[in-house]
């Protein structure tokens, strides 16, 4: 059996008495490229916040890398690109290099400074996401897809074992979405990073993911993409609460 990097057991969560997650059981196997899909308000971002320890479950238990979350200390094993990262202040005067360097701030620790070695790590991360040509450009001047790459690089400097991305491809055009998924697959295969990816792009994610999870209050589906694509439209509309078309990006 493969070891799991995240395990959620019977999780319940409510915002001020408004239940959002109920009885969620969930596991991310090491090495997975997991797509998390579901309707708006289905609780995807909430689930991620629970994993990151930003919210505490009302009920149930979470473990990370085999440890109960309240004992877990190695937070730099987990990289996170939030849904809000593409709404950052576009006028913020920071170069790509500077933004990526922020990923190391906590790791370096208080009262210490960036060393030559850190700078190497930063440049490497920028290269891995294919942004070397832009290293000294202001990040606000880049396209949405390029900005997402920069935020991924910011996570990569910590050598994460799990990378969580909340809707990273919103506003990225089709061709660049394709390149973006290629990048994710590369990280998944070459660097052995486990990926959890929230997306509404049900067509393209099924081409790249190893696992698909559908969340709407509770888990409605957890399995491999082939199974998911074979679900009938009726299953899906039950799950979404309205009819859907699975948009395919095959041409």
């Amino acid at each position: 059996m493969t070891e799991s990097v995240v395990t959620m057991n019977k999780i319940h969560y409510a915002y001020d008495n408004k239940p959002v997650l109920s009885n969620v059981n969930f596991e991310i196997p090491r090495g997975a490229l997991m797509g998390l899909i579901g309707p708006n308000g289905g609780g995807k971002t909430t689930l991620i916040k629970l994993i990151l320890g930003l919210l505490k479950p009302d009920n149930g238990s979470i473990s990370l890398f085999g440890q109960p979350i309240n004992k877990f200390k190695e937070w730099n094993k987990i990289g996170f690109v939030s849904q809000k990262s593409n709404t950052f202040n576009k006028g913020f005067p920071a170069t790509v290099f500077e933004v990526v360097s922020m990923g190391l701030t906590a790791k370096i620790g208080y009262l210490k400074f960036l060393t030559k070695q850190h700078k190497e790590i930063i440049l490497q991360a920028i290269e891995q996401v294919g942004m070397s040509d832009y290293a000294h450009q202001n990040v606000g001047n880049l396209s949405g897809g390029q900005q997402q790459r920069v935020f991924i690089a910011r996570s990569l400097v910590n050598d994460p074992e799990l990378l969580i991305l909340d809707e990273p491809t919103v506003g990225v055009d089709h061709e660049n979405v394709q390149r973006f998924y290629d990048l994710l697959e590369r990280l998944n295969n070459k660097r052995n990073i486990t990926l959890l990816l929230v997306t509404h792009d049900t067509g393209i994610i099924t081409e790249h993911a190893t696992d698909i999870v559908c969340l709407n209050r509770t888990l409605h589906f957890h399995g491999d993409p082939k199974e998911y694509t074979s679900l009938t439209d009726r299953d899906l509309s039950n799950f979404y609460g309205h009819p859907v078309n699975v948009v395919s990006h095959d041409h």
């Binding site: 990151l52 937070w75 939030s82 701030t105 906590a106 208080y110 450009q137």
Partner: protein, 284 residues
């Protein structure tokens, strides 16, 4: 003025103090601007006024010199900054509400202290618009102390302050003590404002913290460059402003702000110029 600076102690104090706040106001101002907190500087400067008025009141009515107006201003400013943070916590979705509350509170308190002291006339005028003759040796030394403290703290916590300014959520997730760093930042802001008021005055202190930054952002690439350019512009504004204020007998607050605005206009047109010439080259 140069000869006068060498000759008269009070002018030398003013000039050196000006050089100091020309560094710390834009330095901290860069963080304030990128976090969209420019208005907080305004609110705090009005609270500082209340502290100054309190100090003046004590001086006038009780001849008490322990609380100089500068220290009174500093104390009020720091307390005000803590209040702003509390209020921002209470009204999470309306964080900017804290600003009018604190600002009007500061003005209200100032009025009360001023009338209790039966008015102050010239001295108050100096605090509102700045003055070239207001800086005593003691004040200069206090402001020197504040400046050294502010510069060292920003140097030591640069990467945390920068990371927090860019993305608060990411900063906390990655394990930075966002609340504590933010608190440190707001205290620094209060200190810088209290220190700057002697020269630029209550009404214009936020200008020295924001205008040089606004100019620098037009031209700089990256955050470090923005800070460096802001400080250069700040110094330029202070030096030119103090000289012209002295010659024309205008409160330096006014001249410093005008120089800052000229720099801003130049930087906007400089940007446009480089942009245009690039476009022309491309279309050629």
């Amino acid at each position: 003025m140069l000869a006068d600076i060498i000759e008269y102690d009070f002018l030398r104090n003013t000039f050196l103090t000006g050089l100091l706040i020309g560094i710390i106001a834009p330095l901290l101002g860069t963080f304030i601007v990128v976090r969209r907190l420019s208005l907080i500087a305004d609110a705090l400067s009005h609270v500082t006024l209340a502290g100054i008025a309190f100090g003046l009141l004590l001086e006038k009515k009780f001849a008490a010199t322990i609380v100089t107006p500068l220290y009174g201003g500093m104390a009020f400013s720091v307390i005000g900054s803590i209040f702003i943070e509390k209020l921002r916590g209470v009204y999470k979705a309306y964080e900017e509400l804290a600003i009018p509350i604190i600002l009007s509170g500061g003005v209200g308190l100032s009025l009360i202290f001023i009338s209790l002291a039966d008015g102050f006339n010239t001295e108050l005028f100096n605090f509102l618009f700045g003055s070239v003759s207001a800086v005593s040796q003691k004040d200069f030394l206090s402001i020197l102390g504040i400046s050294i403290f502010v510069i060292i703290v920003i140097f030591l916590f640069y990467k945390e302050l920068f990371t927090l300014s860019f993305d608060e959520e990411h900063a906390s997730v990655s394990g930075i003590h966002a609340k504590r760093i933010h608190f440190l930042f707001i205290i620094l802001t209060a200190l810088v404002i209290a220190a700057s008021i002697r020269i630029v005055g209550v009404l214009l202190v936020s200008a020295l913290m924001t205008l040089p930054v606004a100019s620098a952002m037009r031209l700089a690439r990256g955050f470090k460059q923005t800070i460096i350019l802001s400080v250069i512009f700040g110094e330029l504004a202070v030096v030119l402003g103090l000289f012209s204020g002295y010659y024309f007998s205008i409160p330096p607050g006014g001249t410093i702000v005008l120089v800052s605005i000229i720099i801003l206009l130049l930087s906007i047109s400089a940007k446009r110029f480089t942009f245009n010439s690039k476009r022309e080259r491309e279309s050629a």
